[in-house]
C-alpha cells in the first residue's frame, strides 16, 4: 500500500501582521500535536519537503498587477510550490493521496490580483490544477471547498470552465465573509452546473454537513467522473473557530475526508489555533492514511452541544435536492445557452480586497463559442495602496480553447498592445503555456 504524503509548511516566519489570524503561531500547536503523536514516523506516512513555485506557475492562473513580484512574498512561492510538490508526488505514483498543510492560504484569490483578499494573494489550488493540466495533461478536476468561507476566488477562476467542478459548502454568505456562494451561483453560460454552492445556516453540525456530503457531493462526484479530487481544506467550520459560527468537529472532518477520499487536500483557513487545528489536522491525516481515528477528539468536545436542529436538517435536505436537480440538468441548460445567447457574454463587477482596502472595478467579456468554452477579455481598474491607479487589460485563453478562439484571443492581445488607455496588457495562453505582458508607457514586453 502506498503511503499518504504530508507536506507540512507552517511558515513560522511569516505573518500578515503580528496579531492577525494569519500569524506565525497559527500552525504551532498543530506542529506540537503531529510531532508529539509521531505520525510522520509511521509507515503509512511520507513527509515531503516544501518546493518553490515559479512566476510562470502563478501567471498560468493570475494576472498580478503590476507583476507577480508585487503581489507575493517568498512565503507565497513556498506555499504554492508546496502544493505543486505534493501534486507531483501524487501524479508520479509515489503516494496514494497527499495533504499539503501549508500557509499562506489562497482560495479567495481571483483571476486578477490587485492585493490581498480574505488573507489570500494567489490561489494555491488553481495554480496546482493548472500546473497538473499542463504537465500531465489531465482534464477533469473536482475541487470541493470545505472551508467555512465561500471559496469565491476558486469559483471565479473556474466559473466558465465546464471541466472543473467546483463545489463549496460554507456558512451562508448573508452571515459571513465574503458574502457570496448563494444557491444561484451555478457557473457561466457554457459551464452551467459545474459550480455548486451550498450555503449552510450558522450552527450546522456534523450531521448536517455529512448529510450534504453523502446526498449531494458524493453523487455529483460520481456522475462528474473527475480524474482528480481536490479538497480545499479549510478547518474553520469547527465549533471553536473565532471567525465563524458553525458546529463541525474533528471527528466530523475526519469522517468527511474518509468519505470524500480526496486525492489531494490543501489547507485553507481555520483560526482556532489551539482548540481546533491540532485535532482537525490529525483527523485529516488519519482519515487520508486509513488510520483508525475513533480515539481522536478535542479535549472540550461535548456531543450534547452538537445535536442537529431537525428544522435545519430539513432545510439542508431541500437545498440538496434542488442542487442535485440543477447539476443533472446542466448539459441541457448549456445547450440552450449556446443557442439563445449573444456572441459575447458581458459581466460587470466590483471586487473589494478586505485585507488591503482596494476597490477593483472589473468588466469581463466571455466569448460564447460553439466549439469550446470560450476565452475571457478582462478590463480591470483599481487604486493600489501606494496611490497608483492601475488600468489593465487581460486576455485569458483556457487550456481547452479551440483554434479559432485561440487566434481571436491572441489578436485581441496584439490589438490592445499599443492602447494607451491601459497601463498594462496581459496575455495568458494556457494552450501554448505562454504568459506575457506589455507595459504600455515603457513600450516593453515581458515574457515569462
Amino acid at each position: 500500500m502506498k503511503p499518504t504524503g504530508i507536506l507540512f509548511f507552517p511558515a513560522f516566519d511569516w505573518a500578515i501582521s503580528p496579531t492577525h489570524p494569519e500569524r506565525e503561531e497559527r500552525l504551532l500547536y498543530t506542529r506540537d500535536q503531529i510531532f508529539e503523536e509521531g505520525i510522520m514516523d509511521l509507515p503509512q506516512i511520507r513527509e515531503y519537503q516544501p518546493g518553490l513555485a515559479t512566476d510562470r506557475d502563478i501567471a498560468r492562473v493570475h494576472f498580478c498587477v503590476p507583476d507577480v513580484a508585487a503581489q507575493i512574498t517568498e512565503a507565497h512561492l513556498v506555499s504554492a510550490g508546496s502544493a505543486l510538490r505534493i501534486a507531483d508526488a501524487y501524479m508520479e505514483g509515489e503516494i496514494k493521496n497527499g495533504f499539503a498543510i501549508i500557509r499562506p492560504p489562497g482560495h479567495h484569490s481571483k483571476t486578477v490580483s490587485h492585493g490581498n483578499r480574505g488573507f489570500c494573494n494567489i490561489n494555491n489550488e488553481a495554480i496546482m490544477v493548472e500546473y497538473l493540466r499542463q504537465k500531465y495533461g489531465i482534464k477533469r478536476v473536482a475541487i470541493v471547498d470545505t472551508d467555512v468561507h465561500h471559496g469565491d476566488g476558486t469559483q471565479e477562476i473556474y466559473y466558465n470552465d465546464p471541466d472543473v467542478l467546483f463545489i463549496s459548502f460554507h456558512q451562508d454568505g448573508r452571515t459571513l465573509y465574503p458574502g457570496s456562494g448563494h444557491m444561484d451561483e451555478l457557473g457561466g453560460p457554457l459551464a452551467y452546473g459545474s459550480t455548486i454552492n451550498l450555503p449552510l445556516a450558522p450552527r450546522t453540525t456534523d450531521t448536517g454537513i455529512l448529510y450534504a456530503l453523502e446526498h449531494l457531493i458524493m453523487p455529483i462526484l460520481e456522475e462528474f467522473k473527475p480524474e482528480l479530487i481536490v479538497n480545499s481544506a479549510g478547518q474553520d467550520n469547527h465549533y471553536s473557530d473565532p471567525l465563524a459560527d458553525m458546529r463541525f468537529s474533528a471527528q466530523g472532518y475526519a469522517r468527511l475526508n474518509e468519505m470524500l477520499a480526496p486525492d489531494i487536500a490543501v489547507l485553507e483557513g481555520g483560526y482556532s489555533v489551539q482548540t481546533a487545528l491540532p485535532y482537525v489536522n490529525m483527523g485529516l491525516i488519519m482519515a487520508m492514511a486509513g488510520i483508525d481515528y475513533s480515539n481522536l477528539r478535542e479535549p472540550d468536545y461535548d456531543p450534547e452541544r452538537m445535536r442537529e436542529n431537525p428544522a435545519n436538517l430539513e432545510y439542508i435536505e431541500k437545498m440538496v435536492k434542488r442542487q442535485l436537480q440543477v447539476f443533472r440538468q446542466r448539459e441541457e441548460q448549456i445547450a440552450n445557452n449556446r443557442k439563445t445567447r449573444d456572441r459575447f457574454h458581458h459581466i460587470h463587477k466590483q471586487i473589494f480586497y478586505d485585507t488591503d482596502y482596494i476597490h477593483e472595478d472589473q468588466s469581463v467579456q466571455l466569448r460564447l463559442c460553439p466549439e469550446c468554452a470560450g476565452f475571457r477579455l478582462i478590463e480591470s481598474t483599481a487604486q493600489h495602496r501606494n496611490g497608483y491607479y492601475y488600468r489593465v487589460y487581460c486576455v485569458s485563453i483556457p487550456a481547452n480553447a479551440c483554434a479559432s478562439c485561440q487566434a481571436e484571443a491572441r489578436s485581441g492581445y496584439t490589438d490592445m498592445s499599443g492602447n494607451d488607455r491601459y497601463d498594462l496588457v496581459y496575455l495568458q495562453d494556457r494552450v501554448n503555456d505562454d504568459f506575457r505582458s506589455i507595459d504600455i508607457k515603457k513600450e516593453a514586453e515581458k515574457v515569462l
Binding site: E36, E37, D41, P50, L52, E74, R297
Partner: protein
C-alpha cells in the same frame, strides 16, 4: 597518553595515542558473549609497553547495548503509556507488556484528564503477577508536564516498592511520544545489564591500578563519563560508526564536505560531513526499525566489504552479503571483493598471484578472470555510489518549516571521499575516480575508529521550553520543570541564559565543565500567543549544545 578502544562486530581495535602520534595498536577478535573480556584483553595488550601512570584517559566504544537490543535479551519491562486522545492504541507496538493508563496532557502542558490511580493499581497487580520487576511510564506531552508520570511513579513507589521505575520525561524533553516511549523502554530493558558491565569495567580498572578518566563513546560522537552513563545506556548504541566518523574527522582537513566510508570485512558504514560537521539522523537513531530520541550520526550500513564473497551462477556474477574467509591474497580459500580490485588494478595487495588464481578458478570457462573482476568492481562501485547519492538526496529533501530555510536551501557539493577501515585502500581510490573527486586514506586509516574514540570530547545538548502564560518552563536533560519568576518581562535573552546555565550545571555534574564554554545555540524560536487581538504570552524553544569535537590535548595528527 590516551587510549581508545572500539568494539566492532568482528574485531576490537585499540590504540595508544600521544601528542599527534599513534604509539601502539592492537586488534583481537570480538567475543560477543563476553565483551568485557574482549575489552580487557585489548587494554592489557596496549598496557604491555606503557607506564600505567602515563595514561590520562580511556574511551570505550562498545556494542553491549546494541547487541542486547538486537537480540531482544534485555530485562522484561512493562511499558505504561498515558496517551490520552489521538492515535489508536495499536499504533504503539513497542513492548509485549504494554499497558494503557487513563489521563491526558495537551501541547501547552495543561492537564486534560487526571490519572486513573485505580486503573494503575490493577495494572501493577498484573505486572507483579507476571513477575516483572521494572516499568517505564511515558505520557503524551509528558515533556511539557511530567505530573502524571510523577504521580504514577509515586503511587508505584508507595504501593509496589519492588518495582523500578523509568520515566519518559527524564529520558528526553523533545516532542515525539512514540520515540520517547521507545527510548524509555529500551533504557529500562538495558539498564541492569549495562550497569553490570560498568561495574565490571570499574573493578577491572581498579585491579589494574588505572586511575584515569574513563568515558564511553555515544552515538552522537561525543563521550560520556563511565559513571554518568549508568542512567543512559541507550546513548551508547551505534558508537562504532560514531567512532569511525570521529576518526575520519580527526584525520581529515577541517571544514570539508566529505563522505566517510569505513570499509570493513563484510560491512561498509557511510557517513557525511557537512562543512566538517558530521550529519545527524534527523529522526534520531533507529533501533530495531523503531525511531528513538537517541542523537546519532546519519550512518548507512550496507552488507558489503573487502571480504564479501563473490559467486558466479550460470554466468551471473554476484557480490554476496556474507564472508567465507579472508581474501585469497591473504591466504583465504576463495575470491573476494578485495581480490577483484587487487587483480583489476594491479594493487599488489598480499600475494596478488593468489588473487588471480582464485578469480581464474571462479570464472571457470564462461569468462576470463579479467571480465569477472571488472564485473565485480562495477557492482561494488555502483552500489556504493547509489547509497552515497541517496544520502545526499535524503539530506537535501529534509523538511523545512520556515520560509528562510526553503529559500536558502543548499545542495551538497562533495569535496572529498575519506576511506577508513582495512579494505578501503583497495576500493576508495577507484570509487573516487569514478565520482571524480579526490580522496584521503590516511596512514592511520586502519585504526581510525579507535583513534576517533580516543580523542573525542564530551557532548551535551540542552533543550528549554518556556510558556510565559502558564509560567512554566521545562529543561532537558533531567526533566526539570519549574515556575518562571518574571513571566511578564521574560525575553529570548532570558531563555538563552536559562538554557546556558542548565548546560553549565549539567556539564559540571558530568565532569565536562571545561567544554561548556564552547557551546553554541542551535535553536532559538519565539512565538507570540494571541488571544482575541492581544498578546497573552510568549512561547520560547531554545537549544544549546556542545557539538562533537576533540579534547583539548588533541592538536591534530602528525603526517
Amino acid at each position: 597518553m590516551l587510549i581508545g578502544i572500539d568494539v566492532g562486530g568482528t574485531y576490537t581495535d585499540g590504540v595508544v595515542f600521544d601528542r599527534g602520534e599513534v604509539i601502539t595498536t592492537t586488534k583481537v577478535p570480538t567475543d560477543d558473549n563476553d565483551i568485557k573480556s574482549t575489552v580487557l584483553q585489548v587494554l592489557d595488550k596496549l598496557l604491555l609497553q606503557q607506564d600505567k601512570s602515563d595514561i590520562t584517559r580511556i574511551v570505550l566504544s562498545t556494542t553491549v547495548v546494541t547487541n542486547l537490543l538486537a537480540t531482544g535479551k534485555g530485562e522484561r519491562t512493562a511499558l505504561l503509556l498515558i496517551p490520552g486522545y489521538g492515535l489508536p492504541a495499536d499504533a504503539y507496538d513497542i513492548s509485549d507488556d504494554t499497558f494503557f493508563l487513563k489521563g491526558g496532557i495537551d501541547f501547552r502542558g495543561r492537564e486534560l484528564d487526571p490519572l486513573d490511580e485505580k486503573g494503575l493499581g490493577e495494572v501493577c497487580d498484573k505486572i507483579m503477577a507476571a513477575g516483572i520487576k521494572r516499568v517505564a511510564i511515558v505520557s503524551k506531552f509528558g515533556n511539557r508536564n511530567d505530573n502524571l508520570e510523577k504521580q504514577a511513579r509515586d503511587y508505584i513507589k508507595k504501593h509496589y516498592p519492588q518495582l523500578s521505575v523509568t520515566m519518559g520525561s527524564q529520558i528526553s524533553g523533545k516532542l515525539n511520544f512514540p520515540r520517547r516511549a521507545t527510548t524509555a523502554y529500551y533504557t529500562a530493558i538495558t539498564s541492569e545489564e549495562w550497569n553490570r558491565f560498568v561495574d565490571e569495567i570499574d573493578r577491572a580498572l581498579t585491579e589494574r591500578g588505572l586511575d584515569c578518566e574513563v568515558h564511553i563513546l555515544k552515538a552522537d560522537g561525543g563521550t560520556l563519563a563511565l559513571q554518568v552513563s549508568r542512567d543512559m545506556p541507550c546513548e551508547t548504541v551505534f558508537s562504532g560508526p560514531a567512532a569511525s566518523t570521529m576518526g575520519a574527522l580527526a584525520l581529515a582537513e577541517a571544514g570539508m564536505n566529505a563522505v566517510v566510508l569505513d570499509i570493513g570485512g563484510t560491512t561498509t558504514d557511510i557517513a557525511l560531513l557537512l562543512d566538517g560537521m558530521p550529519l545527524y539522523a534527523s529522526k534520531g537513531a533507529s533501533i530495531n526499525q523503531r525511531y528513538t530520541h537517541v542523537n546519532a550520526f546519519a550512518v548507512r550500513s550496507i552488507a558489503l566489504g573487502g571480504d564479501s564473497s563473490i559467486s558466479v551462477n550460470a554466468g551471473q556474477v554476484a557480490v554476496e552479503n556474507y564472508r567465507r574467509d579472508v581474501a585469497a591474497c591473504f591466504g583465504g580459500k576463495s575470491a573476494t571483493v578485495t581480490d577483484a580490485f587487487n587483480c583489476k588494478f594491479n594493487l599488489n595487495i598480499g600475494n596478488p598471484e593468489f588473487s588471480a588464481a582464485a578469480l581464474e578458478q571462479l570464472a571457470g570457462s564462461g569468462m576470463s578472470k579479467d571480465e569477472l573482476s571488472t564485473t565485480v568492481v562495477t557492482i561494488v562501485i555502483n552500489r556504493l555510489q547509489d547509497v552515497i547519492t541517496d544520502m545526499f538526496k535524503e539530506w537535501e529533501n529534509e523538511p523545512a518549516y520556515k520560509v528562510w530555510e526553503v529559500i536558502n536551501k543548499r545542495k551538497f557539493t562533495l569535496e572529498q571521499i575519506i576511506g577508513i577501515g582495512a579494505a578501503s585502500r583497495a576500493i576508495i581510490p577507484q570509487l573516487a575516480e569514478t565520482m571524480q573527486v579526490n580522496h584521503l586514506i590516511h596512514q592511520y586509516a586502519d585504526v581510525a575508529n579507535a583513534l576517533g574514540a580516543a580523542v573525542a570530547r564530551p557532548t551535551l545538548v540542552v533543550n528549554l521550553h518556556v510558556d510565559t502564560q502558564t509560567k512554566i518552563y521545562t529543561l532537558d536533560p533531567g526533566g526539570v520543570r519549574g515556575t518562571l519568576d518574571n513571566p511578564r518581562n521574560f525575553q529570548l535573552e532570558n531563555a538563552r541564559q536559562m538554557a546556558k546555565k542548565h548546560l553549565q550545571e549539567v556539564g559540571k555534574e558530568r565532569g565536562m565543565a571545561s567544554y561548556t564554554d564552547e557551546s553554541s545555540f542551535f535553536m532559538e524560536e519565539q512565538f507570540n500567543m494571541i488571544g482575541g487581538w492581544d498578546r497573552t504570552g510568549k512561547l520560547f524553544d531554545v537549544g544549546i549544545q556542545v557539538t562533537p569535537g576533540f579534547i583539548e590535548e588533541f592538536k591534530g595528527v602528525k603526517i
